[in-house]
Symmetry: C2
Subunit: 209 residues, 2 copies
């Protein structure tokens, strides 16, 4: 069962705490991202609810839509992350008696490993993309919800960094050097960008509080 979105919050947390291979950090990162997206949507909604913020309603509507899409994407990624890791575990358990079996197993491990890297990379990208909108949300959004906008940035940033840890831990098992190099380069770029953006958002929040 990898569709964690239908578990109760309490059950999901118990599943995360258990020693079963999934759900793990990649799924937690995606759910953290979904919380960040939900908070961004709330802040945009609280801005749209007040006539006095009418001049920024256009921006807030598109921000709200983007946050909703990200929330839905994160829920899919939470499931896919666990599926990808389950496939890695299954590949490692394949028979390795004959040469043909060993070949097939190495192949299965490589392709499962790639997927277990690509899924958290998509989580990290989704988090970074929404985080890039948050300076505008803080600047133009309802100031009563400042702390919520800040909490959204913290969650999205933790989601991106947590997902990138899952990218990093899977890379040593992948033999395609060009793929590994691309992933490392993109990881470093996203990490630098989320660090910059979350510091910017939190400084803006602190200034206005």
């Amino acid at each position: 069962m990898n569709d964690f979105s239908e578990l109760s919050v309490r059950e999901f947390l118990a599943a995360l705490a258990s020693s079963a291979p999934t759900p793990g950090g990649g799924t937690a990162a995606a759910i953290g991202g979904a919380m960040g997206a939900a908070l961004a949507e709330m802040v945009a909604g609280l801005t749209l609810a007040r006539e006095k913020f009418a001049p920024v309603h256009g921006v807030m509507r598109s921000l709200s839509e983007e946050a909703l899409r990200a929330r839905e994407d994160f829920l899919v990624l939470a499931r896919e992350d666990s599926e990808a890791y389950d496939a890695v575990v299954a590949a490692r358990r394949l028979a390795k008696e004959t040469e043909a079996e060993r070949d097939a197993r190495a192949h299965a491990i490589e392709s499962a490993g790639r997927l277990a890297t690509e899924v958290p990379m998509r989580t990290a990208r989704t988090a970074a993309r929404l985080l890039a909108q948050l300076p505008e949300l803080v600047e133009k959004g309802n100031p009563n919800a400042l702390s919520d906008a800040g909490a959204a940035a913290l969650m999205l940033s933790a989601a991106a960094d947590g997902a990138l840890l899952n990218v990093g831990i899977n890379l040593p098992g992948i033999s395609d050097a060009a793929f590994v190099e691309d992933m490392r380069r993109e990881s470093a770029a996203i990490q630098a960008e989320t660090r910059r953006l979350s510091a910017l958002v939190l400084a803006e929040v602190a200034k206005r509080m």
Copy 2:
């Protein structure tokens, strides 16, 4: 309805995204903390499951128990945070026609505001206390779960910082200067400590990955 732990993950996220005053950033911070605690528990469990880590099983057992307690505390805090904010909203809506009514309302706002500050401060303390155990979890825990230990630190750190934003946004409404000063001092101390600890954990994770 403030017992979010019984909602499905999907429903909880929808409630967070809605423009209703609660749940908001304080509740999201507590749930983020619960995810961090759950991941720490998983890493300890994956260490306890292997005989070769027997020399550290004693440490892992106490870490696992502390993480479980924190997870349960965070779920209570998630509910209490929303209850406290609902009380602030209710206090602001009290009648203010007569002098007696205005006095009663000011009193209610003050005490609701204090509670809405104390609850996220407890969330921040719980997150910081567990985060302080994570360097040992990374150092002695099952290295296969390194990225999960790192993700736990990221979640606990976001939980502490997010909760402290909720402390900060409520302080200007509180007239008791000594209380405000105590809260500001403790916020700064926790923030410095979580920054130090999460940087330490992530550096250790990076070194071992």
